[in-house]
Symmetry: C2
């Protein structure tokens, strides 16, 4: 058996972050978001990140305590400097604030400069969709570049994710995609396992398309390709520019400062359907879209057309019922932290 109770994992991760200095409620929230990512199947961006977060807390690179600095607060627009506080906590807090402001103004934006890493964007989306609101999150790390612009050899961007949560009459649609074809986390994992990408998702130092995830590691000079790849990678390049301009431009903090370390510039946007044509009309339209997608006959070899988030929510339901099977290696890396910080390991369920 390798399955854990989700609540045990949250308690364990929360216990670790609290023992590392975070206020208890904040530590628990970070544990919840990381475990939510694992529940949804985004297992490169769930508890797999916890050991690195604990190192960052230990080394003072992630600040355990304190509040964000309010740079501007203007009705439907709020800007914070996160000063390397937990990006997970800041993002959840920003979403709650944007949801509240959107109730009054119809739409609202919170921009966050210099947060620490924000983990899995999909894991935040139901915070808004459960309230019947629409949420978009974009995020970039201005200290890192692994993704080339279309037609270029030198990396300029991070994978630059865009996430959108969309209420329907049934399950919400949970979009979480990178502007690049794949992510740094996936490249690292496949390279460590000696595996290849399933497509030509990167290019080597000379610009040749390749399925070798190792080209971005160890000074080999390769880059991840923007969505569309060598054929139509202007699409992913456009998205990367949009994500970095919104997250770094509006927060006022990005690559111009040449930051170092591990950080995130974030933009959270919420729309309140009740201030537009109403939530009933909104759900009617998004449910019609969902039904049309489901009704599209599957191509040969495809079981069924799925909505974004559909498989993740099914996985989550099963894991809440039967336990969470962590990706191999994660608990092994967390166990020494448990010992060091005096937090007992969660028990496997029989």
């Amino acid at each position: 058996m390798t399955a854990y109770r989700a609540s045990d994992l949250v308690a364990f991760a929360g216990g670790l972050f609290a023992a590392a200095g975070m206020p208890r409620d904040r530590a628990t929230l970070v544990g919840e978001i990381l475990v939510e990512a694992d529940l949804l199947g985004h297992n490169t961006h769930g508890l797999a990140l916890a050991p690195r977060y604990l190192e960052e807390l230990r080394d003072g690179n992630m600040k355990a305590e304190g509040e964000p600095e309010v740079i501007a607060d203007r009705k439907a627009a709020v800007t914070w400097n996160g000063h390397r506080l937990s990006g997970v906590w800041l993002t959840a807090k920003a979403i709650d604030l944007a949801c509240e402001r959107a109730r009054e103004y119809g739409t609202a934006t919170v921009a966050i400069a210099d947060a620490h890493h924000i983990a899995c964007l999909a894991a935040y989306l139901t915070r808004a969709t459960d309230r019947g609101q629409v949420l978009m999150i974009v995020s970039s790390d201005p200290a890192v570049s692994t993704v080339a612009p279309y037609g270029g050899l030198d990396a300029v961007f991070t994978p630059d994710p865009i996430a959108v949560g969309i209420p329907t009459d049934g399950d919400p649609i949970l979009i979480d995609m990178s502007s690049s074809i794949t992510t740094n986390g996936m490249a690292n994992r496949l390279a460590a396992a000696g595996k290849r990408f399933p497509g030509q998702w990167a290019q080597d130092i000379g610009g040749n398309a390749t399925d070798d995830p190792g080209v971005i590691l160890g000074g080999r000079g390769g880059t991840l390709l923007p969505a569309g790849g060598h054929d139509h990678g202007h699409k992913g390049y456009n998205l990367a520019l949009m994500v970095e301009a919104l997250s770094q431009g509006l927060s006022g903090d990005g690559r111009a400062r040449r930051p170092t370390g591990w950080s995130a510039s974030v933009l959270v946007q919420v729309w309140e359907p009740q201030c537009f044509a109403g939530i009933a009309a909104f759900r009617r339209e998004t449910s019609a879209l969902a039904a049309l997608a489901h009704a599209s006959r599957p191509a040969p070899g495809v079981g069924a057309v799925r909505l974004p988030g559909e498989r993740g929510l099914a996985r989550k339901r099963a894991a809440l019922e039967n336990g969470v099977e962590l990706y191999p290696g994660i608990m092994e890396k967390l166990a020494p932290w448990g010992e060091k910080l005096g937090v007992p390991l969660p028990q496997l369920q029989g």
Copy 2:
């Protein structure tokens, strides 16, 4: 010589729309936006559309006169029903309103149900960037479907464009991309010319990837592929769901009603950098991004890494200097309308 003065083309197109019943200022504005598309090189979505717009006006499918119905007006969120008034005029008017509201609230959204077609999204972007504001436009036609969801055979979506205008210290970044690899306009043009797509941008009725643009025409049952194609088309599928949910869901009018004819659901979003970290910080960050993209060494066979809009703005400057060379066939199709409506044709410049 096949070059026209841009101002002559605007006067001609404006004259045609006015003669077809539009109020003069509205007719001129529509002429300006269509010619702007041609200036930027988006020549499937410029004056090439004018003959069809004139047919739609003649047949009463595009309403020449009247105001949009205000469905909701709540601080930073405004919703209109366009009742098939010119989508070009409505979109320009919506952008002006959103820019004004964003000055007060920091961000603002205008959603438009049941507009007529809105032409080229790139042509609107400088309306906001010239004011130092950031603009996103998404649009879909809920009566049309040519794009398959990822893994599906049946079309669900229109090409579902996303446009974003981003001020910098120099030229603005002007993003205008479809969620599908290519557009209906391009497929029609290439099919009519007996040409092929440069890549596997469509699929036939059986789901086989193809470069034949004709598969979407005449009941052949093919579909355009979402961005990423058969390799990673979940990207374009995600974007299409985002675009249709924002444009149809918030405006409250979309595929659920099974509309017919030629229409558009639109969402316009404006951010005011002065309400966030300030326009100076915004421009500093976006200019740094632009510089980094330009500094990325070009891949073999690529002249230089360009920013979205860069080639279009250069083309526009040259056309304002040397005249506009219309895509073959456009003036030939407009000439009978000039004769019919008593609007003299523009003169070619020597």
